[in-house]
């Protein structure tokens, strides 16, 4: 029986109609394409009137297939599928072809764009006739959630979910939760103490009945899909019995081995070989760093073991792999600071009194290595002048084109702290001052009043080569002051480089594990930059905080809460629809060559050794088609993307080559 196809061509206001002759495309399709029973154009197909038009035709004309030529299926496939369902037509008998992004938005010439739109409609009409009705399945959502990263974004998400009564596994790779925020002294613009607002949240997460804290742990693999992920977590050996340790700290106190703390203290302070990153760490259980522990290096000492009152030291403890079953995952893996050595003309690592912003945070911090005194590298001299350099590695085509967003405000905060704690002059070298959140501009005004000096211009060099007597023994900032319109050399005692916020170096790897992608810069890609900022293209995987792009604390907290709200929505709904667009192996014809076994990005293919065939776990399959194209025997087929459908589509798009006569007639 011949199919009855309905073709609906959308104007999208003038979005499509401005460059495609929509009426002509609709008329042409109705007159020239086989099995087209109805062909219409309409101003806004996605409006309720447009949808009603389709529904009425399905009922009235007995359409068996529907083609909508409009925008991207990403935007409105759901809309039109729903219209089909409403009228009693299986939603998978719809095909949407994109004549907006693929025609009107990318072509200048109306005739060519119209011709291309015809080709795409022809392709869709050919294809849709081979589409088959499919039925989605539903799976239960596991109410437990995994949050990866224990910084402020991850903490917020964890607590929101835990307080709502759902179980959360919080995985953090360092020995304590808290993230970068734990390193800060004050937070802008209100100048409240970072620790004072963060540590209550940390200890709440540590003690919450609904939170399983897995610190010093890394994600090994993520299998499964929304509703039912199976996550392998490697709990690195702490070499301290988690349950026996009371966190008394005697082991730390007595450990004879002292090493430079490059993590928490950013290289400015020391820690022991057995340590917690900072006194308020959660959990308080320390870890032994085998690379510096005397026992692991020289088989001597064991002081901690001898002195531990609860016998919690376990030198032979090994890594442990845990399997977690969760329904949703929130990635809050944060950021890493720009490597300031990559701009050698700024002298970091070569000139002693050039600091990174994180180093300076520790210097200002009352619990830091100098007890909050701002002093030079010698540990005692107070600087008489401090330069703060903005945009180090940000807004710079050689490093990162993007603006790191937080540095202007952090610079103002540093300026304030220097002015408060010392008698030094403070210079800010900025390109543009970006203070566009609540209370930020006011803070900038405050610093102007406090007497911070602002020099608008990008610093070309920081040097200790003096030219003038007043430059002797100083660091000289060479820069063009674009407001004064001349070059300046400003001698200072101390320089702070406001390094860019960069994605974690293993962000891509983590993205691969979870099946989500990263932007060019390496930040995780959200589903929609405006309308869906915490979801990703993989259902059940959400992102929050600076792993999605540079963010300050308020924005990270907002995203953490938003991600938690999205997850709660999933849990409350209880079930998720599994798209029936999946691959299927013809197991009769499968030779079990196992080519497909290793390539499925969702780990949905398993090998049945007994029968010597591969098998697709439908619940895990996302229908991506990787295995379909890899199968050398062509025994894997993809529902909704069968060879027959794709061949028909290709033939359809080539209508003017295959039937040259009709092409010439109708194209004119």
């Amino acid at each position: 029986m011949a199919e009855k196809v309905g073709v609906y061509v959308c104007h999208c206001g003038s979005n499509i109609a401005g460059k495609v002759n929509v009426e002509e495309v609709a008329k042409w399709a109705g007159e020239n394409l086989q099995d087209v029973a109805v062909s219409r154009d309409y101003k806004f197909m996605c409006s309720s009137l447009g949808q009603k038009m389709i529904e009425d035709d399905i009922r009235g004309e007995g359409l068996t297939r529907v083609v909508v030529a409009a925008c991207s299926p990403h935007l409105h496939e759901k809309t039109f599928r729903r219209a089909c369902t409403n009228a009693g037509l299986n939603p998978y008998l719809l095909d949407m072809t994109n004549i907006r992004e693929h025609c009107s938005w990318v072509h200048r010439d109306m005739d060519s764009a119209t011709l291309k739109a015809k080709s795409l409609v022809s392709a869709a009409v050919s294809r849709v006739k081979f589409q088959e009705p499919l039925e989605p399945t539903y799976v239960d959502v596991n109410p437990a959630t995994l949050v990866i990263g224990g910084g402020i974004a991850g903490l917020q998400a964890t607590l929101e979910l835990a307080d709502a009564g759902y179980h959360v596994y919080l995985v953090e790779r360092s020995p304590s939760i808290g993230g970068h925020m734990a390193q800060f002294d004050k937070t802008f613009p209100t100048l409240d103490c970072s620790a004072c607002i963060l540590t209550p949240k940390m200890s709440e997460a540590g003690q919450h009945e609904n939170v399983t804290l897995l610190t010093y742990s890394e994600i090994e693999s993520v299998k499964g899909s929304v509703g039912n992920f199976e996550v392998k977590v490697r709990k690195k050996a702490r070499r301290v019995d988690y349950d026996a340790c009371t966190g008394c700290g005697i082991c730390i106190e007595k450990c004879p081995r002292k090493v430079v703390d490059t993590e928490f203290e950013a290289g400015l302070g020391f820690r022991k070989a057995i340590y917690t990153p900072f006194p308020q760490a959660v959990p308080r259980v320390p870890v032994i760093d085998a690379d510096s522990c005397i026992w692991f290096q020289r088989q001597k000492c064991r002081a901690c073991e001898k002195l531990c009152p609860t016998d919690a030291i376990k030198f032979d403890q090994e890594d442990e792999t845990l399997t977690l079953n969760v329904g949703n995952i929130i990635l809050a893996t944060g950021w890493k600071p720009f490597e300031c050595r990559d701009i050698p003309q700024y002298g970091y690592g070569r000139l002693a009194n050039v600091y990174t912003s994180l180093e300076f945070e520790r210097l200002c911090n009352a619990a830091g290595p100098t007890n909050g005194k701002i002093v030079l590298r010698d540990g005692k001299t107070e600087p008489q002048s401090v330069a703060i350099i903005h945009c180090v590695g940000s807004r710079d085509v050689r490093h990162n084109e993007y603006c790191s967003g937080i540095c202007c405000m952090a610079s103002l905060k540093f300026g304030h702290l220097v002015l408060e704690k010392t008698k030094a002059n403070v210079y800010s070298f900025y390109i543009d001052m970006r203070t566009n959140q609540k209370g930020y501009e006011e803070f900038y005004q405050r610093l102007l009043e406090e007497g911070m000096h602002f020099v608008r211009g990008k610093v070309s060099e920081i040097t200790d080569a003096a030219r003038m007597p007043n430059e002797q023994g100083k660091l000289i900032i060479q820069c063009e002051d674009t407001l004064m319109g001349r070059q300046r050399r400003i001698p200072v005692d101390m320089v702070v480089l406001m390094g860019a916020l960069e994605p974690q170096s293993d962000a891509k790897e983590m993205g691969l594990k979870c099946g989500i992608s990263c932007s060019m810069q390496g930040f995780f890609t959200e589903r929609h930059p405006k309308l869906d900022p915490v979801a990703t293209m993989t259902d059940g995987i959400f992102v929050a905080g600076a792993c999605q792009g540079p963010k300050d604390i308020p924005a990270s907290v907002a995203q953490g809460a938003a991600a938690a709200a999205r997850v709660q929505g999933m849990i409350t709904k209880g079930k998720v629809m599994v798209e029936p667009v999946v691959a299927k192996i013809n197991e009769e014809a499968c030779s079990g060559c196992r080519i497909c076994n290793n390539i499925c990005p969702y780990n949905a293919i398993e090998y049945d050794a007994e029968r010597g065939v591969s098998h697709i776990i439908t619940a895990l399959c996302k229908g991506c088609g990787t295995c379909v194209s890899a199968c050398p025997a062509s025994v894997i087929s993809g529902a909704h993307f069968s060879d027959q459908q794709i061949d028909a589509e290709i033939e359809g798009v080539l209508w003017d080559v295959i039937r040259p006569k009709s092409a010439v007639v109708s194209a004119n």
Partner: protein, 337 residues
Amino acid sequence: MSSASGAATAAGTKPKLAIYWAASCGGCEISILGIDTKILDVAAAFELVMCPCIMDGKVRDIEQLEDGAIAVCLFNGSIRNSEQEYMAQLLRRKSKVLVAFGSCAHEGCIPGLANLHDKQAIFENSYQETESTENPQRVRPQTATTVPEGTLHLPVFYDTVRTLDQTVDVDYYLPGCPPESPKIWEAIQAIVAGNLPPKGTVIGSDTTVCDDCKRIRNVKKVKQFKRTWEIIPDPEICLLEQGLLCCGIATRAGCGALCPQVNSPCIGCYGPNNDVHDFGARLMSAVASVIDADNPKDINAIISQGIPDPVGTFYRFGLAGSLLRRSKRPAGSDGGH
């Protein structure tokens, strides 16, 4: 013997069988004879009207037959000149069932690799450049040559080698270079019994060589492809896993995995499985999926070092029948011919 002599009495009423060769090597005929004494059963069931390899026969005898007079024609060889094209058309007209027999007729096979070149280049090589050729007058084959006795004719040599079904309508395909004798016998039995599948069927298995291969298969990750002379492979483990580019994963079963059994990777002579448009593309896509590297530089190195002859590897048997069919021709060459 008894069945053969018994059937001989019915000579003349027996269905007619033709076996013809076009651009081929004769291996298909040898494989037919490889069915051994069962050839007598064939003789009992059919009247063999043509088989230039093993018996005398004249084209005019075939021309004089009524259309459709031949019950079955097993046609091996690809089509590379005008005579072969004429014979393909003639035998198509005279035969009820035309079988593309063997890889040449089915997908072009080794003769089809000539499609990487054109007529001029092939003539230049064959009649000029080879070491053993001395041809100072640059003599080339001519389609017509006048001699005192009259005019001699040679077939027109085409630019492009075609498969049988690119030339005439084909009913069935029997894959293999050559088709294995037991499979030939199975096919003949099916024909005799009138137990034929739908037109266009490739008579053979629905699985691939791996199905018949006894080697242990693991998850595949290939860091380096090796040529056969570079390693002595482990006899137990899948050859592809050992870096030998075994085409068995993409090749239709039917041979009984003869080559892998003796430590030699499958070269793909049985052609693609059902529903495969292009054997080479399929195989390449599969092989690409198991390359164990994650950046373009390493991937390029693995491919360029390990697969020095991609066409000869992936399209050894299927170039003429593939989607691409041949290398790009300069404008103004003689079209399909």
